[in-house]
Amino acid sequence: MSVTIISNKKLKKNERGHTLMVKNITIFTTNTCAYCGMVKKWLAAKGLAYEEVNLEQNPERQAEAMQVSGQLAVPVTVVTRQDDTQSVVVGFNLAQLAPAVL
């Protein structure tokens, strides 16, 4: 029998104590934002894939970034888990980002 071991780092416990995998990560960025680069590098170093939405190239998605974060700022990182619960982190804020993806 083959056993697949999934790193606990990629799992998150929900209220019932079940572990939840990160389904996808979206980062809203702009061309010149240094903090956006830091978030991308940090996620890459953790081996986590993400979709980048550059708001200068996709201005039609600015409203979406504002709605999800409640702010007019980037980077906005949206972590969606398997049960579709989301964590939204604004800025390069490891205190919030690390628990959101662990």
Binding site: T30, T32, C33, Y35, M38, W42, Q62, M66, L72, A95
Partner: protein, 347 residues
């Protein structure tokens, strides 16, 4: 430091209990707090000398330089260089020689005699010497509405958030280099920018002022104008800034500046809040006092760059101070007394 390979690794502190030796914590040669130009320059020098170096930072590598749109006065780049590119080059150069980077926030530095205990939000690291190069951050104006509309129309980073204001009106507050430089950057997005300057002239360099002149179609400068309040309202279900109220100090009259956002560049404050629990001496504003060898009032702890009392707040000088601090740290680690008894500079 010694050229031997083993000294390039952190050496454990050991405690002997009976016949048993227990490793407690590794002691790094140097822990640097911050990863802006001063720390990166220092790290290039220490690591090239085989001094094992770890940098702790909570922000972007490159510090404020990394979020500066364009840098025209850093020597060696005839055509100028983007802040992000300069930060990336400094980062790669330090990495090439073996500097290690850790994300983390430092909360305290404690003198433990033979070494320093650096308390981070994730735990504790030990070092024979410490360099504080935490730089400074943009100051707040301290007016009603500034905190309430933070990141909802009030910003301190044009390269981060400027793109939200394509074809919108903006107010830039400040009259120094940063204010003028970032206002010029914001002209690529905004339809119009009002710059509110408290004094009767710019403190920015002539070159930047001349550059600003090229954008007069989009920019109006208001000298002698204080920024008193930032007003917002709910627009499309979203709280947004709608205007700035200022005072024309020549007439004493209130003036409204309708706007979609405000970018604030009114000077810098040192990032030294975490040192308040330590014995490290600060000046009245909060910058770290050092002797001529960049050593703080706590022996073995050095400071360089914008965070140091007397710093000239330039990337070039931060880089120079970083290199100087590295050489002083090498001297300290070799066990030599610094050339004279440390003297605290009067500020």
């Amino acid at each position: 430091m010694s050229q031997t390979a083993e000294k390039t690794k952190a050496v454990p502190v050991t405690a002997t209990a009976s016949a048993k030796t227990v490793a407690i914590e590794p002691v790094h040669d140097v822990v640097m707090i911050g990863a802006g130009p001063a720390a990166l320059s220092a790290a290039i020098y220490t690591t090239r000398e085989d001094i094992e170096t770890v940098l702790y930072d909570k922000g972007p590598i490159g510090g404020l330089a990394a979020v500066t749109d364009w840098i025209d006065n850093y020597p060696g780049f005839a055509k100028g260089i983007s802040g992000l590119d300069l930060a990336e080059n400094l980062h790669q150069q330090a990495q090439r020689f073996g500097a290690k980077f850790e994300y983390g926030e430092v909360a305290n530095i404690i003198d433990a005699g033979s070494h320093k205990r650096v308390i981070t939000t994730d735990g504790e690291v030990h070092a024979k010497a410490v360099l504080i190069a935490t730089g400074s951050d943009y100051k707040k104006i301290g007016v009603p509405g500034e905190k309430e509309y933070y990141a909802r129309g009030v910003h301190y980073c044009a390269t981060c958030d400027g793109a939200f204001y394509r074809d919108k009106r903006l107010v830039v507050v400040g009259g120094g280099n940063s204010a003028v430089q970032e206002a010029i950057f914001l002209t690529r997005f905004a339809s119009h920018i009002d710059i509110l300057v408290r004094g009767d002239h710019f403190r920015a360099s002539e070159v930047l002022q001349e550059e600003l002149q090229k954008h007069t179609a989009k920019v109006t400068v208001h000298f002698n104008t204080s920024t008193d309040e930032i007003i917002g309202a709910k627009v499309d279900n979203f709280e947004k800034v709608t205007k700035v109220i200022g005072t024309d100090k020549t007439t004493g009259k209130k003036v409204d500046f309708p706007t979609d956002g405000v970018f604030v560049f009114v000077g810098l404050l040192p990032n030294t809040e975490f040192l308040k629990k330590t014995t490290i001496e600060l000046d009245e504003i909060g910058f770290i006092k050092t002797n001529p060898y960049l050593e703080t009032s706590l022996p073995g702890v050095f400071a360089a760059g914008d965070v140091r009392s007397g710093a000239t707040m330039q990337i070039a000088t931060a880089v120079g101070e970083g290199a100087t601090a590295a050489l002083m740290i090498r001297h300290y680690l070799e066990g030599h007394a610094l050339l004279v008894t440390p003297v605290t500079l009067k500020v």
